[in-house]
């Protein structure tokens, strides 16, 4: 049995509301992307960076409820933080979302997408 069918209330709320879902286009906007062919998971992180800080953050995602909830949990909190400080803690996501162990790979995918976005910030101040 997978964990499917036994999602926590936190996951449920985040999955239903998906705060900050969407895309950013325009000056100072970067995209970070990561894909896992096996599960079909696709994560795209959008950051608008101003003076080294996150002015706006968005995400697009095709993935399981935990992946969606993880982004809905993380991304809104990034706004206002120094880009250099952004990080994804898979352990924290497991804890907060009460996620099964087999979702670790998806959380690392989010980390990859974030890293790609942060990397794309080079040159933006």
């Amino acid at each position: 049995m997978t964990h499917e069918g036994a999602y926590s209330a936190v996951v449920e709320r985040l999955f239903m509301e998906t705060p900050c879902a969407g895309a950013l286009v325009g000056p100072e906007c970067v995209i970070g992307e990561a894909v896992d062919r096996l599960t079909g998971t696709h994560v795209r992180v959008h950051l608008q960076v101003h003076q080294g800080h996150v002015a706006q953050a968005r995400y697009q995602v095709r993935g399981c409820p935990y992946t969606i909830a993880a982004l809905a949990f993380l991304v809104p909190a990034w706004v206002g933080s120094p880009v250099a400080s952004l990080q994804v803690s898979a352990d924290q996501l497991h804890r907060i979302l009460d996620a099964p162990a087999d979702r670790r790979g998806r959380f690392l995918l989010i980390e990859d997408a974030l890293r790609a976005a942060v990397g794309a910030c080079t040159g933006i101040t």
Partner: protein
């Protein structure tokens, strides 16, 4: 909650439930006992056996009660292959069979049988010609389902039976999903062994039957020993209320078939039309050769688990309930050529006697909304 998972287990028909409740209220009696209470129980068992036989238009002697289609599949396949060991060690089945067939065939492989798993075409169909090619001089048994439990695809068993008989191969047919949905008789299928379920056709869970052709009667090695019930093929005290329930479920299915079969087909057609509001969806399995109660659809560009999660008011699954716990995508859809992600992003809708048009319309609306939302959330 809209229940669209009748292929996993169907709702209990109230008439069946009443027959079972009446049986549960009868005085205790072991159908093997010779006193009046035992004889009364035996009479009820034999009446139910006749009800099941009637649906298949066969003699009651050809029906052996089991604990379900899984056990029937095991008894048929292990029983027939083990009994035929000295004639040959080759068994044929299809990649799209239920686990209760595939896992049994794997068990035979561990016992020294060689096995061939036929690949269906993109519509899920396996032609008699494909079967003909797979049969070898040492082939003793072919197992092929009538109605696929994930896609609803109906195989041309008559044509396959002709090949089997010509080549001297026993034919086992898993008809668990077929009873009450696809008209057939034991003779029309031409099978030597047919597995039957009760809970898939609005009867109780935990009871099933195996049809065994009488003339000629295939030899079967039993799986269970003791007691001698059911011609020593299936020992254990016969569960009266369960068998009464199965008998009544079969009688009801027979009685309602003319009305229910077109009605179910109408419901799945209606659902398919409504879902076509969405772009990029695929019907899985033949559109032409299909049972009326199952509709399996793949939704491009969404995650299957998220889709199911976004439909909390629909009870349905992506594939077989037996492997619902399994995180990997349906092996049945992959055998039809769907890639992993698309197989995973599929829903099996299965309707039953309680399903209404209003439910279908609500379900379609919910699915269209959920797919639209998830697609909007995804990167383009």
């Amino acid at each position: 909650m809209i229940y669209l998972d009748h292929a996993a287990t169907s709702s209990l028909d109230p008439v069946v439930r009443e027959a079972m409740e009446a049986a549960l209220r009868q005085a205790a009696g072991n159908p093997n006992s010779l006193h009046a209470a035992g004889r009364a129980a035996r009479v009820r068992i034999e009446a139910a056996r006749a009800q099941v036989a009637t649906v298949l238009q066969t003699e009651p002697e050809s029906i052996v009660f089991t604990s379900g289609a899984t056990e029937s599949d095991n008894l048929a396949i292990l029983g027939a292959a083990r009994a035929a060991r000295t004639r040959g060690l080759h068994v044929v089945t299809a990649k799209t069979e239920h686990r209760a067939v595939l896992d049994v065939v794997s068990a035979l492989a561990r016992e020294g049988f060689s096995t061939t798993l036929l690949k269906p075409d993109a519509e899920g169909l396996i032609s008699a010609a494909v079967v003909e090619q797979a049969v070898r001089p040492d082939t003793v048994l072919l197992s092929m389902m009538l109605v696929n439990n994930e896609t609803g695809v109906v195989q041309d068993i008559e044509a396959i039976a002709a090949v089997c008989h010509r080549r001297g191969v026993l034919l086992h047919v898993d008809a668990a999903q077929a009873v009450g949905r696809v008209p057939f008789t034991a003779a029309s299928l031409g099978a030597d062994l047919i597995s039957l379920s009760s809970h898939k056709i609005h009867g109780p869970m935990g009871v099933g039957a195996l049809y065994i052709r009488q003339n000629p009667r295939p030899a079967l090695v039993p799986l269970l020993f003791g007691g001698g019930q059911e011609h020593a093929l299936r020992p254990g005290t016969l569960p009266v209320h369960q068998i009464v329930g199965m008998g009544m479920a079969y009688a009801r299915a027979h009685e309602l078939a003319d009305h229910e079969i077109p009605r179910l087909a109408g419901l799945t057609q209606r659902l398919w039309r409504r879902l076509q509001a969405l772009p990029a969806i695929h019907l899985n399995g033949s559109i032409r050769y299909r049972a009326p109660h199952i509709l399996n659809v793949s939704f491009v560009g969404v995650d299957g688990e998220a889709l199911r999660y976004a439909l909390p008011d629909l009870a349905l699954s992506s594939g077989s309930a037996c492997s619902a716990g399994d995180p990997e995508s349906s092996y049945v859809l992959r055998a039809l050529g769907r890639d992993d992600a698309l197989a995973q992003a599929s829903l099996r809708f299965s309707v039953g006697r309680t399903t209404t048009e209003t439910e279908i319309d609500e379900a379609a609306l919910a699915v269209v909304a959920a797919v639209t939302r998830l697609r909007a959330l995804a990167p383009p």
